[in-house]
Amino acid sequence: MNWRWVSLAAALAAIVIGYGAFVDDGGMPMASHEMPEQPGYYLKDAVILRTREDGTPGVELIARRIQQQLTRPSRAEAITMESVRVNYFGKEDWQWALTADTGLVPPNSRVVQLEGNVELRSLEGNANAYLSTNELAIDTEKNIAYSTRSPVQMRFGQHAMTVKSLRADLTSEKLRLETVNGRFDPTTEQVRRPR
């Protein structure tokens, strides 16, 4: 055994431990710093229903996985979601369905950032009215959906539209689209995803 290496390693360890102890402010035991980032909680195949004050359903969130992420060092809480579906309940019936590959709620934020095959579809009368995009943000307090970066493809009856930016009031079902190019396109198959 080469003692010289052993003593050198020990000295190095002492330095590291000493440095660790010096900077550590939380008085946490040393072992937890090295451990991989732990999820606060996670849910699999979860269905979360948020009701209104009068008990009627408001928003139903369905996801294959929901995970609370404790971000270091501030230990703030972010939530990530996979295979997300959000159903919005209107006055009498389900009004909107929103689907996306992933969702993220950053720490201390009321905005859900959805990404990947995002689709917002009206469930009432106008079944052939929906929009699809790559990214969409939802302000859960104001019930507003708005596009962030990618263009939005929209289907409205027999018209297909490409829109530079969008803002949808999910309560009143009113949408505002900017820089719009439309085309009469009676084919009802899925609108092509934006590249």
Partner: protein, 182 residues
Amino acid sequence: APSLDADFVWSADVVNSDFRNNTLDISGNVRVTQGPKFIEAQTARARNGQAEKQQWTFEKDVHIRTEEADLKSNLATAAVVNGQIANARIEGSPARFEQVGTDDRQVRGRAGVIEYDFDTGVVKLTNQVWFSNGKDEFRGDVVIYNIRDERVQINPGGSSNRVRGIIRPRQDKASNNTEGGA
């Protein structure tokens, strides 16, 4: 004859849409094109987004152009059937019509209301009509002009008001007469 089956394409600065009432409120540099035809306006509203027959209403600086007709007014409604602009009805004070492609003379008309059938090429002017085939002028209640065979009918269904017209001698004959007579 008009080009058929060209794509019905449109663009605008802003669209306010209401999924519930099936309406598109379109504003800012609105432009609808279908092959060589186009309709321009500052605002438009498309109703019945689902239906095969939709009604589009255009307002402010409305300009409709096809291969054979040019129409201008403050207000216009167009019927769009299966993505084809079928006809347009324009109103103005007055609304204006001009035939396109007649190099030698200017066939024009002004009226409170002008209806134009994109398929048949028939233009119907009503409500204080003034019409000129580039040489003669007419005033009446109703003028029906067929662009394709250039036939004009004035007050075809009869009217309480009389037709008034100015028939001018043909330009070449007029000049011969003056030379001969001098």
